[in-house]
Symmetry: C2
Subunit: 593 residues, 2 copies
């Protein structure tokens, strides 16, 4: 099946939903223009379609191999990586003064989405390198920046993120990797890390490892953690890869999916490293990487959903079975004509677009949080970014799983056969709700920190904006739009009611018992809101006769389907969120004797 990056949908989300253009006003992106955006999206689409997508299935079949500490990636990955470096893609969203292209993060996310659609296993590598660049930009010393950034921002050197240890997963404070100071200001780090994505590979000439470790006499838990930079090859006097450092891959995980991505067990034996940020400041430094990675993982969810959708859509047009009541021409009809199959496709399409909208709005908010002129605007944007990040990560990755499962279902028996490729999307998609903080951790972050942040300011601002969209829809001259308002309003009310219930629990466990369900509701409602914003914009285009009129119509139709099928269910979810800790079965009821 031929993948084609959905440039039109991405552009619509950038222009009309996330309002990327508004970033120009800050003056931070002098290069940003309509033409440049077009050129970048078109080039990225070519790279995704022609270079990455053809390696997706073979990468899954071949997987990676480890021999004598060296990892070999699947055929073609090395060449594709060279083209990635050559295209300058890694630096797209980073400042020009650091060697990047100085474009908004949201544009980088759009490019990343196409890459993830085309080849999730490959694109995980560049995705994590982005996170390390963020960490260095914020916390690196001038010397570190000068030494590392130019090589990492080109992608010539790649990067990882080394947090997890066997006993320390979601509870990162339990990690045991130790750092001892050397006389020259460097540190000697010893320990083992697991689940290290692209921890070792043959695509880049050097790999930079940000590693969380514990310094001598550090307090227990997360307060005792520091972040270190450990290069695979120590840069020599000219900044070129020199002596091999004592960090190596000692195992590759045998995973259900993303076989093309080497997931390594990494061993450090007095590996040489340097602090990134202050000693004991590891958690804050980690969260800089983590936040970027969380949003990017959400974008993976969008990417894999888009890929699965295209796959299923093509099959549903081609496969003929049965007689569809409203179809033209002789039976058997293409299965897309069967209402049940069409509905599955519609659900896939609508949820993918809602997830994309949430991720892009989150990315634009991150851009604004950095670059808006006034402190007030930056603070507003920061709150929105922080509120949306766990939703973007968890909701979009759950959509990735749901949509790829529907993709299998549309394929029928062919969906379960590996040759078809639909199964790979399903296997690949399943990791995204787990890594970079499980979706449960996201939900706990949302109800714990994000709801109460600034006295509930982010929630209040969001509700105001949603209600503005209700108003915009309700007063539209297009009779379709007031129908959207009728669905969005009660959904927003339910979202508010649920949020307030959670915020007013005396016993934290009562709120925690409904955290995941609240996050799901939040995504449902915010995703629907953003599709409604798209519908309002589409109506403007229709009224002004601007652009592709059929496409504008389709924006309204997708929003309507989502409103009728997803938003309509929002009020009914309230009681399930409010079940409380006492509503959970005890050990006996779970069958523990």
């Amino acid at each position: 099946m031929t993948f084609r990056a959905p440039v039109q949908d991405i552009r619509f989300a950038l222009d009309e939903i996330a309002a990327m253009d508004g970033l120009k006003a800050s003056g931070a992106f002098p290069e940003l223009s309509e033409d440049l955006t077009t050129a970048i999206l078109d080039e990225a689409a070519k790279f995704a379609n022609d270079v990455l997508a053809p390696l997706n299935r073979t990468g899954d079949q071949q997987g990676c191999t480890l021999k004598d500490g060296e990892v070999t990636t699947p055929d073609g990955f090395k060449d594709a990586y060279a083209k990635y470096v050559e295209g300058g893609w890694q630096g797209l969203q980073f400042p020009a003064e650091a060697g990047g292209m100085g474009l908004p993060r949201v544009l980088g996310m759009a490019v990343m989405e196409m890459m993830q659609s085309a080849n999730m296993a490959f694109s995980l590598g560049p995705m994590l390198t982005n996170s390390a660049i963020e960490a260095l930009l914020v916390n690196g010393t001038d010397e570190q920046k000068a030494l590392y950034l130019p090589r990492i921002i080109t992608g010539e050197w790649s990067s990882t993120m080394q947090l997890t240890e066997p006993q320390a997963g979601s509870d990162v404070g339990l990690l045991k990797t130790k750092a001892e100071p050397n006389d020259d200001g460097s540190w000697s780090i010893t320990g083992q890390k697991i689940y290290i994505t692209w921890g070792e590979h043959d695509c880049a000439e050097n790999i930079i490892h940000p590693v969380l470790a514990r310094t001598p006499d550090a307090p227990e838990g997360t307060k005792g953690i520091s972040l270190f930079l450990i290069p695979k090859f120590l840069p020599d006097a000219n900044g070129n890869p020199g002596e091999r450092n004592a960090i190596k891959a000692i195992g590759l995980e045998h995973k259900m999916g993303i076989h093309g991505s080497p997931t390594c067990v990494m061993q450090m034996e007095n590996a040489k490293g340097w602090l990134i940020g202050p000693e004991l400041g590891g958690m804050a430094a980690m969260f800089i990487m983590m936040n970027s990675a969380r949003l990017a993982v959400g974008v993976q969810g969008v990417g894999i959903a888009e890929r699965a959708y295209q796959h299923a859509l093509a099959y549903a047009q081609e496969r003929r079975q049965g007689r569809a009541p409203d179809a033209e021409g002789p039976a058997p009809h293409p299965i897309i004509e069967h209402p049940d199959v069409r509905r599955m496709l519609a659900t896939m399409k609508a949820k993918t677009e809602a997830a994309r909208a949430i991720c892009y709005l989150c990315a634009v908010s991150a851009d604004e949080a950095e670059h808006e002129e006034s402190e007030e605007d930056r603070a507003f944007a920061k709150r929105r970014e922080e509120f949306l990040t766990p939703i973007a990560k968890a909701w979009a990755t759950d959509v990735g799983v749901e949509v790829s499962s529907l993709g299998i279902q549309i394929h029928g028996g062919m969906g379960f056969i590996e040759e078809t490729g639909a199964a790979q999307h399903y296997r690949d998609a399943r990791i995204a709700p787990i890594y970079e903080g499980t979706n449960g951790i996201q939900a706990i972050d949302l109800i714990g920190r994000k709801l109460s942040m600034g006295g509930g300011a982010a929630l209040k601002e969001l509700l105001e904006d949603i209600r503005q969209t209700v108003e915009d829809c309700a007063t539209s001259s297009n009779p379709e739009l007031p129908q959207l308002a009728k669905r969005l309003k009660p959904a927003a009310d339910a979202f508010e009611t649920a949020a307030k219930w959670l915020m007013t629990r005396e016993d934290r466990s009562d709120a925690l018992a409904g955290a995941t369900e609240f996050l799901a509701l939040s995504g449902d409602v915010i995703g629907g809101w953003l599709l409604c914003i798209g519908a309002v914009a589409a109506q403007r285009r229709l009224k002004e006769g601007q652009g592709d009129q059929d496409y504008a119509e389709s924006r309204i139709e997708i929003a309507r389907f989502y409103a009728e099928t997803v938003l309509s269910q929002a009020p009914g979810k309230l009681d399930s969120i409010r079940v409380g800790y006492e509503g959970l079965p005890d050990d006996l009821a779970l069958g523990i004797s």
Copy 2:
């Protein structure tokens, strides 16, 4: 992880929810007694726990191989199959006069559930053999019965079900396999069948293939189909395997899961076969096999959900991460103490039990439909069996997928690593919503044929029974039970409203557009109703001080959790069901230009 068949839960579902005991009154099961049930469930549990479960992971890793038309199953499968035959399990639910044990089908389903939990890939074989036995019992000639049944009912000979061809999946009427009459009353069958489960293997000395084919001058479509019996080895004069027939496996599918089950491409070149039932009566004969298989696939959903639950429960008790607000003892606490994880486990447990209850009630109804004394009672039971069959198949298999996905999530990163085993459940579970009629086909059957059957009689009778349970709960002396009534009543109302809306659509496409969502609602409500029946029974046990009192309490607690989190959402799903054909996006909105 050690699997232990959930004998107590199964027994409760048999005794208190499906009311298996009521079958005694018909006189059809003279052997059925409490002691025999206990003995059978205990023996079956041993077989599942000790023989089948240990082969599950190795079966997945090794898979099957095909060489020169011969399939080799994974190590241990052959021995396990011999033990299965030795135990007489295959004949459990078949009449004594045919060589079976003459016990109810529902008891057979209970045994099958344990086997599917323990090893889904293995147990698929025996499951399909059951279906062929049904077909022979109903449609076989006396001669066929005498020749084949004694060998199949012991499991010495296994059986398949050969329907699908590349162009004929859900639309079985498109099949092309041809049957030409021979002079001796036999037929010569030529064609290719795909997705043939256990089509060839090394466990049984002969394989009996029921095959759908087209006779000369047969009309097009499903009306032109006949069912043939094609043995791998033609029985000789003594009924022993004789000459090799011209039917062979020419390929094995490379599947996402159930690797231990050989899924064959079967080629017939003038294979010798005999009609089962009348010429052109293939569809009716197929549905006899199919109905039995559909319920059995639902039971697979229950089985894999149970397995995934036990796996996740064990991990959640052992894995320690973070500080849980209400946990005792020093952190890190077992993750089961985190409300979010406990809720996932509770959802897994409650939905698994609801799915079990639906399947067992369906099986008891099938028993009653055959054996009740009065024609009226048999007709009532038949309607209920037919109404519940698509729900048992589709809802329970969707639960299998959902629960195994939650199982992965609870394992965190470990869930995505194949060594853990959680991933296998997820991969295995995904086939069940597809085969034996996709879940979409089940939904179409439910809203098309089953809702309107007998002027809506099955629905009406079901609603009456549900409302009786509402009444029983509402008037209970245990204050927990009226809370159940408060959730069950509006859920039943929503179920009724949705059903009536679907039944009154003039345009069939309007109903079809909501079919899958209606089936989901039906399962949610019926599953909840049955858990409430269990709660009423548990309250009786509490009042009478009968049996394990903690266990009785737990029945009420699980019902309450289900009611608060699942039933509470039922009314909110109405509008999504009533979206109608016009509510589905058109081709343009789906991105087809």
